[in-house]
């Protein structure tokens, strides 16, 4: 057992921190928060030059074949600066789904394009009335000769407005379990019949859109892997994405905690730094405690995706998703409280953390959803 970071891993984190400090300072994020696109091509290109898009992609598709934990370390740093833009949607949501479900040809086509930064992409998952239920997939894929006709609405799709292609889970089977009825399509964002409408988001650093399909005609070749067999690879990819959100949360919580405790050292009231008052000091200590324990959860969940048994990977992802995103939300809220009025202004960067925290909590299954999922696994194990 060795739950420490290797030299290589420490380097990933250090390099990322150095790069992002320079290329993605707070002023840039604040600007992108209000920008309709949400990221500059320049930063995207530089990130691609860092090989970040290629990290998790196998070497034979032009990537570096690294582990989830390596990606987590990178995402932690991205969360630390509340990186705006389509990295998460492209590399994690679309990339991991294609990696889990695609045929060799599809991986060669799509993953290579992701790996070298040429393509942006996303996954269109949630639907109206589905809430947090990741299995509530109602978009229909009806056979039409060799083709399929897609109809339905996908919501809260991250960075669809920038995507070149979109992965879409669709109900192609009419009856039976998700495991036998869901197919994953990959389609161009400019496909006929596809409408992408940006939605006003609370967290301006992660733009979301509605993706509406009206009689979108796709060939059989657009199906990732096998017809009707998209459910399991989708779940595996989503687990990695959930862990990805945890990594962002840990990085964000870490930075929010640092901002707050740095402020508490210099802000003077009653002739002394407010950090000397227990009310403030203990808030900071609690922020630290939640952040550090989140990091332990993150490491476990990251490791389990690559090396744990299936059950452990699932329960670890759900445990971490609930714990880390709850913690980030608490930490960011406490951050505002420690900063007082200053933390309540848009000018200060703390609001970025609160909004990202709340968005990460809401995305890919709320803590309530994940706790119920954990309970299902626990109850069946004990009984």
């Amino acid at each position: 057992m060795d739950i420490t970071l290797s030299k290589t891993q420490q380097n990933i984190a250090q390099e990322a921190r150095r790069f992002l400090k320079k290329e993605c300072p707070s002023e840039y994020v604040q600007k992108m928060f209000k920008d309709p696109q949400g990221m500059t091509d320049d930063l995207w290109r530089k990130m691609a030059e860092m090989d970040w898009m290629a990290m998790r992609i196998p070497e034979n598709y032009g990537g570096m074949g690294m582990e989830q934990i390596d990606m987590s370390l990178l995402l932690e740093e991205m969360g630390r600066v509340v990186l705006p833009g389509p990295f998460f949607s492209t590399v994690i949501l679309a990339g991991e789904t294609i990696l889990a479900a695609g045929t060799d040809t599809q991986k060669r086509q799509y993953l290579s394009a992701i790996a070298d930064g040429k393509a942006k992409a996303t996954l269109a998952l949630h639907e109206p009335d589905g809430g947090s239920d990741l299995g509530y997939i109602d978009m229909s894929g009806t056979r039409n000769g060799e083709d399929f006709i897609l109809n339905g609405t996908k919501l809260y799709v991250p960075d669809a407005h920038l995507a070149d292609f979109i992965v879409v889970p669709v109900r192609t089977g009419t009856t039976g379990e998700p495991a036998d009825t869901i197919s994953l399509f990959v389609m161009s964002a400019r496909e006929k019949g596809v409408t992408i409408s940006p939605l006003p988001t609370m967290d301006g650093t992660r733009k979301l859109s509605a993706v509406i399909c009206r009689d979108v005609q796709l060939t059989k070749a657009s199906i990732l892997g096998e017809l009707n067999k998209g459910w399991h690879p989708l779940m595996h990819a989503l687990q990695r994405a959930q862990v990805g959100l945890c990594a962002e949360a840990v990085g964000g919580a870490q930075k929010a905690m640092e901002i707050a405790s740095d402020y508490a050292k210099v802000r003077v009231q009653y002739d002394q730094p407010i950090g000397s008052f227990q009310a403030v000091k203990h808030m900071c200590a609690q922020m630290f405690t939640e952040t550090e324990s989140s990091r332990s959860m993150l490491y476990w969940a990251s490791w389990a995706q690559d090396f744990g048994a299936e059950n452990e990977a699932t329960i670890a992802a759900s445990s971490a998703k609930a714990y880390c995103t709850d913690a980030f939300t608490n930490v960011a809220a406490k951050g505002i409280q420690v900063l007082g009025g200053t933390g309540f202004t848009m000018e200060n960067e703390m609001h970025l953390y609160l909004k990202r925290a709340k968005a990460n909590q809401a995305a890919l299954g709320t803590p309530v959803y994940h706790r119920e999922r954990i309970m299902q696994l626990l109850a069946s194990a004990v009984q």
Binding site: G131, D203, F277, Q337, G340, E347
Partner: protein, 405 residues
């Protein structure tokens, strides 16, 4: 002990409620109204509404007719406040300082001239007031207030900077806390001036808050010449005057807020009935049912706390020990309620408006705005210090004690 209104009061409530229903548009949603993102609009809406209120004989219910009030009972004042809280929270909001601080302070401490000059204009909606209290170095620590007013003939020359001044960018007057005695420390030596915001040298700069709107301002005072007649009460008595005068209005404030939040809980329930998770209305989920019920319970605690406090104030003239806890009873529950509302929306919680948002994104706004609740008007930490020290008699911590005395 009787929680009921008298039949006459009930009739009055019914009348006023009817009037409100007729006066407000049919689709009026108290929690989804113009915000400070549209300062002119919210000000105009406030003024128009206050004017109607005044014309209908509902402005300044428990204030003297001589100044444009209605000369009715305190209880009737509460009834009007409750109903307004229930129906028109965001329209009442711009008037919180005006009616909750400026009005009572002028009424109880002002000269006859000041009363005649200001009160009618407040009641008919002509004047909106802001309050200049916090400063960059005097957030929780009032000892550091350093905006100076130096006497120069018939004027005070005011220099300094205020911060967190709500609505300063469109208020007509400011209830300004200044230090008139430069050698004073702490609350001693503080005075209140009634300052015309159009005077030269006053520069309000709106600050955008995390909700994206600009409710608050930094306000710079650069050699502003304020007539001595603007002083209210005596020099150096500002703090004491405020404390004794505003207690009642603070109790009233809890009552208004609880009425507004009661409406908010209804809205939450309606949201739960129409928002779905896995195809089922969220209201059927026992987990969220618990949270909604808890929200209701906490608002009831605020409501009956407020009414009890108010009641003992009416009866005895002094607020009970329960008075000091009102701030904690609304700020923290409101944060929990908005969190609940956000969580119930699942992934839609990320959407702050537009066709796919829940209840037009009003909970996203409320969630963010609520984070200010435990900071504004005295942080929760300051409230707990006050309760611990002034109510329970626990010792001040040695360091603060030393620095402050």
């Amino acid at each position: 002990m009787d929680f009921r209104l008298t039949p006459a009061e009930e009739t009055f409530r019914e009348e006023f409620r009817k009037w409100l229903n007729q006066t407000l548009p049919g689709d009026w949603d108290p929690f989804n109204q113009p915000t400070f993102k549209e300062p002119e609009k919210i000000r105009d809406t406030y003024r128009a509404f206050q004017k109607k209120l005044s014309e209908a004989g509902y402005a300044g219910i428990h204030y003297d007719k001589a100044y444009g009030g209605q000369g009715r009972s305190l209880m009737e004042g509460v009834i009007v406040s409750q109903e307004m809280g229930r129906r028109c929270i965001s329209v009442v909001m711009p008037g919180v300082i005006t009616h909750g601080m400026a009005l009572p302070l002028i009424y109880f401490c002002g000269t006859e001239d000041q009363k005649k000059k200001f009160i009618p204009k407040i009641l008919d909606g002509s004047h909106l007031w802001c309050q200049g209290f916090s400063e960059p170095d005097a957030g929780s620590d009032v000892a550091n207030i350093s905006t100076m007013a130096v006497r120069d003939g018939d004027n005070y020359i005011v220099n300094g900077q205020k911060v967190w001044t709500s609505m300063a960018h469109f208020a007509d007057y400011c209830l300004l806390v200044v230090r008139t005695d430069p050698d004073s420390r702490k609350h001693k030596g503080l005075s209140y001036l009634l300052v015309d915001m159009s005077l030269p040298g006053i520069d309000p700069r709106p600050m955008t808050q995390i909700t994206g709107e600009a409710e608050f301002n930094e306000v710079f005072f650069d050699n502003v010449r304020v007539p001595v007649s603007s002083l209210i009460g005596e020099e150096g008595q500002g703090w004491k005057m405020a404390i004794t005068t505003l207690m009642f209005e603070r109790a009233m404030g809890d009552v208004v807020i609880s009425a507004a939040y009661e409406t908010n809980v209804e809205k939450l329930i309606r949201m739960a009935a129409t928002t779905k998770n896995s195809g089922q209305p969220v209201i059927e989920d026992p987990v969220y049912r618990q949270q909604i019920a808890q929200s209701y319970i906490e608002i009831m605690a605020l409501k009956y706390h407020g009414l009890r406090n108010f009641s003992s104030h009416i009866k005895t003239g002094i607020p009970g020990p329960e008075g000091s806890i009102g701030k904690l009873l609304w700020s923290e529950p409101n944060q929990r309620i908005t969190e609940t509302a956000m969580d119930m929306q699942g992934p839609a919680g990320q959407i702050a408006g537009g066709p796919w948002s829940v209840q037009n994104g009003s909970w996203q706004y409320a969630f963010l705005r609520s984070k200010g609740n435990t900071i504004e008007a005295g942080t929760s930490e300051i409230q707990r210090n006050i309760i611990g020290e002034r109510v329970l008699g626990l010792p001040k911590d040695a360091s603060r004690d030393k620095s402050a005395s």
